[in-house]
C-alpha cells in the first residue's frame, strides 16, 4: 500500500471534517430515535466513517453513488444536503424523496446519490449500469457501488463484477467489510480470508485495505478511481472496518465477542484521526472544536426544520408511481 498516493495535510483535514460530520449526524439520529421523536429503522455506520470520508474527496458531484440501507455515511461524505436528509428521515414532504423513500432509499442526484437500496447487494448491478452510462457519455465519470461483506455472497456480486470486467466499465466496487453479515461472522460465510481475492476470478484488480486508515483508504480509492476515469476498468476494494451499533439499531450484538467490540471501540478511527491532526500540527484542538460546533449547529438546524415541516399529502400515494398519474 505504500506506493498509493497519500492525502495532503489539507486533504486529511477534509477527511476529518467529513468523518466527524457523519459521526455527529449518526449520534443525533440515535438520540432522536431514543427520544421517540424519530421513528425509523436505522442501520448505523458508526465506526465506518473513515471509508467514505477518504473515498469521496476523489469523486465529483456528477460521479455516481449507489449505496445500501447502511449508507447515510456514504451520502453525507458525498455531500448529500443534511436538511434534505433529515426531512426524509422524518418522513416529511420537504425530504429529498418527499418522505416516500425514507432511511433506506435516500436519493439525491444533484450530489450523485442515485440509488439507495434496502436489498443486500443490489447496489452493484445498478452501479454497473451507471458505469455503462458513464462510459457512453465519455466524460470521465465513474460509478461507485457500496456494499457490505455479506453482499459478497449474493449472486448480484458475481454477475456485476463479471459484467463490469467484461465491458471494462468505470465502476469501483467498495466492500465495506465490517466483519459481520447481519449476525453471521465472515468466518462462517466464506472460505477465503479476503473477499478482494475474488477479483482475480473476474480478471479484475482487487485490494484489501484498512478502511479505518485515511492514508490507505484515500490512496486506494484515488488509485481505483483514476483507473476508472482513465478507461482502465473496474476495481474491487475491500475496506476492513467495524460497526459499533450492530446490524439494525437495537441489535444487542450477542454474536460479537465482547473483547472484539471493546478493541474496535478502543481504536475508534474518528477520534484517532482527530488526535493525529493535533499531534502532527495539522490543526489545533480549538480550531477543531470550532469546526465541530459549526457542524452541530448545521445538524440541529436540519433537525428542527425537518420536524417543523409538513407530512406529505395523502395524494402523494398516486404521484410518482408512473410519469403520469394513472387513476
Amino acid at each position: 500500500m505504500s506506493n498509493y498516493p497519500k492525502p495532503t495535510n489539507e486533504q486529511l483535514l477534509d477527511i476529518y471534517r467529513r468523518a466527524i460530520t457523519i459521526k455527529l449526524n449518526d449520534e443525533r439520529i440515535i438520540k432522536e430515535m431514543m427520544s421517540g421523536r424519530l421513528v425509523t429503522p436505522y442501520y448505523s455506520a458508526r465506526g465506518q466513517e473513515i471509508i467514505p470520508s477518504s473515498v469521496m474527496p476523489n469523486m465529483n458531484d456528477d460521479d455516481y453513488l449507489c449505496t445500501i440501507y447502511r449508507g447515510t455515511h456514504d451520502m453525507v461524505a458525498k455531500g448529500f444536503p443534511l436538511d434534505l436528509m433529515w426531512a426524509e428521515l422524518a418522513g416529511r414532504v420537504t425530504g429529498s424523496c418527499k418522505g416516500k423513500g425514507g432511511t433506506m432509499h435516500l436519493t439525491h442526484p444533484p450530489t450523485g446519490s442515485m440509488v439507495t437500496t434496502g436489498i443486500v447487494g443490489s447496489s452493484m448491478p445498478i452501479a454497473t449500469g451507471l458505469g455503462w452510462a458513464a462510459k457512453l457519455k465519455n466524460k470521465r465519470q465513474v460509478a461507485l457501488a457500496c456494499f457490505g461483506d455479506g453482499a459478497c455472497n449474493i449472486g448480484a456480486f458475481h454477475e456485476s463484477l463479471n459484467f463490469a470486467a467484461v465491458f471494462n466499465l468505470p465502476v469501483i466496487f467498495l466492500c465495506q467489510n465490517n466483519r459481520y453479515a447481519e449476525h453471521t461472522s465472515m468466518k462462517k460465510s466464506s472460505r477465503v480470508e479476503q473477499y478482494s481475492k475474488r477479483a482475480a476470478g473476474y480478471g479484475m484488480e482487487g485490494v484489501t485495505v484498512n478502511g479505518n486508515d485515511p492514508d490507505e483508504m484515500y490512496g486506494a480509492a484515488k488509485w481505483a478511481i483514476n483507473r476508472a476515469r482513465n478507461g482502465e476498468g473496474p476495481t474491487l476494494i475491500e475496506a476492513m472496518t467495524f460497526r459499533f451499533n450492530g446490524h439494525l439499531l437495537g441489535d444487542p450484538g450477542h454474536y460479537i465477542p465482547a473483547e472484539e467490540m471493546a478493541a474496535a471501540k478502543a481504536a475508534d478511527p474518528v477520534p484517532a484521526l482527530r488526535q493525529r491532526l493535533i499531534d502532527s500540527g495539522i490543526a489545533d484542538g480549538a480550531a477543531l472544536d470550532t469546526m465541530e460546533a459549526g457542524i452541530l449547529v448545521t445538524i440541529d438546524a436540519a433537525v428542527q426544520a425537518a420536524y417543523a415541516a409538513d407530512y406529505p399529502d395523502v395524494a402523494e400515494l398516486k404521484r410518482d408511481v408512473f410519469a403520469h398519474e394513472i387513476a
Binding site: Y64, C66, G95, S96, C97, K98, G99, K100, G101, H105, T107, H108, P109, M114, V115, T117, G118, I119, S122, M124, P125, I126, A127, T128, G129, L130, G131, W132, A133, A134, K135, L136, K137, A143, G155, A156, E159, S160, N162, F163, V166, F167, R319, D320, V321, F322, A323, I326
Partner: protein, 324 residues
C-alpha cells in the same frame, strides 16, 4: 403497407428508435450481430449499424442485464434489455420489481427508469414447464411497471416505439407462436394503454390479447353463422389496461368473456372481471366468465399441451354458454 412478420416489425422499431435517439441502447444475451442478432433475429443488424458500445451481447447474467439497464436508464439512457424467455425474469425479479418499478416513487420522482424489457414466451412448441409461461399478471400487479403484449406486426412495431419513448419501465412480451407469420404491417406508433376493438359485435364482448385474439376472432366468425354477434377487443396493453374501451363495449353487449393464455387463477382476467362487474352491476345479461390455461405447469406431451391453453373450441363453448 408492407408484409412483415413480428420479428421484422420489432427489428424495424428498434432500428428506427435507435436511429431517432442516440440514447436508445440494446443489451441481452446474444443480441449483437457476432452472436446472431438474437436467437430469432429480433436485434439483427443493430450492432453493425450502431456499434457494440450501444448494443451489448452480455454474459448469461439476468440480474446484471436488468440491473445495468436500470443504471443506464437513471443515467440518462433508454435501454432495451432482452430477457430471452419470460421464465428467465424469475432470476431478475429483484432488479425488476424492487428497483425498476419502484425507484421513481421511492425517490419522490427524482429518478426514473425509462427502460423496455423485451421477453418472449408462449406454449405450443413443446418447451415444457420453464420456457413458455405467461407471467404478465405478476408485473401488472407491481405498481410502477407497464406491460404490453402485441398480437400482430403493426402493433408490435407501434407499441415498441411507444414503449421506448415512455418514461416508465415497460415489459414487452413477444408471443413466440405469433412471431413468424408475415402480415400487412403499418409502421406507426401505437399509444400505450389503448385497447383496440378488432371486430365489432352486439351480443358478447371477448377481451383477449396475444394468440388468444386470433382464437377469439375465429370464434366470432364461427358464431356469426348462427346469428350471434361477438365483439373482440385486443387489450394490447395489460397494465395500465384500457377500462374505457372495455366498459363501453360491455355496456353495449351486456356480456363479457376474458381469455388469456396465462393460468386463470389470480390472473389478469380476474381484475378485468372485478372492475366490469362492479361498474356494470345490474346491466349484465350474464355472469362474466374467464378462460385461461389450466392451473399446472406447462406440460410437454402434445395432447396435454394442446388441452392446457384455451383454444377456439373451448372459447367457442364458453361464448355459446354465455349467449344461451
Amino acid at each position: 403497407m408492407e408484409k412483415m412478420n413480428m420479428i421484422q416489425a420489432i427489428n424495424r422499431a428498434l432500428h428506427d428508435a435507435m436511429e431517432a435517439d442516440d440514447t436508445v441502447l440494446a443489451l441481452g444475451e446474444e443480441v449483437a450481430d457476432p452472436e446472431g442478432g438474437g436467437i430469432v433475429g429480433v436485434t439483427k443488424g443493430l450492432s453493425e449499424r450502431f456499434g457494440e458500445d450501444r448494443v451489448l451481447s452480455t454474459p448469461i447474467s439476468e440480474q446484471a442485464i436488468i440491473g445495468s439497464a436500470v443504471g443506464a436508464a437513471i443515467g440518462g439512457f433508454r435501454p432495451v434489455a432482452e430477457l430471452m424467455l419470460m421464465n428467465f425474469s424469475t432470476v431478475a425479479m429483484d432488479m425488476l420489481v424492487n428497483h425498476a418499478a419502484k425507484l421513481r416513487f421511492m425517490s419522490g420522482g427524482q429518478t426514473n427508469v425509462p427502460m423496455v424489457v423485451r421477453t418472449a414466451t408462449g406454449a405450443g412448441l413443446g418447451t415444457g414447464g420453464q420456457h413458455c409461461d405467461f407471467l404478465e399478471a405478476w408485473f401488472a400487479h407491481t405498481a410502477g411497471m407497464k406491460v404490453v403484449i402485441p398480437s400482430n406486426s403493426s402493433d408490435a412495431y407501434g407499441l415498441m416505439r411507444s414503449a421506448i419513448e415512455d418514461d416508465d419501465p415497460v415489459i414487452f412480451v413477444e408471443t413466440i407462436p405469433l412471431l413468424f407469420g408475415p402480415m400487412e404491417t403499418t409502421l406507426e406508433k401505437v399509444p400505450l394503454g389503448k385497447a383496440k376493438v378488432v371486430r365489432e359485435g352486439s351480443d358478447l364482448t371477448i377481451v383477449a390479447y396475444a394468440l388468444m385474439v386470433h382464437h377469439a376472432l375465429a370464434v366470432a366468425a364461427e358464431l356469426e353463422k348462427d346469428g350471434l354477434s361477438v365483439e373482440v377487443i385486443d387489450l394490447r396493453t395489460i397494465a395500465p389496461w384500457d377500462r374505457e374501451t372495455v366498459l363501453a363495449s360491455v355496456a353495449k353487449t351486456g356480456r363479457l368473456l376474458v381469455v388469456h393464455e396465462a393460468v386463470k387463477e389470480h390472473g389478469v382476467g380476474a381484475e378485468i372481471a372485478a372492475v366490469v362487474g362492479k361498474e356494470l352491476f345490474g346491466k349484465l345479461k350474464a355472469p362474466i366468465d374467464r378462460l385461461g390455461a389450466a392451473f399446472c405447469a406447462v406440460p410437454f406431451s402434445k395432447p396435454l399441451e394442446t388441452a392446457f391453453v384455451p383454444n377456439p373450441a373451448s372459447i367457442g363453448a364458453a361464448a355459446r354458454a354465455l349467449l344461451a
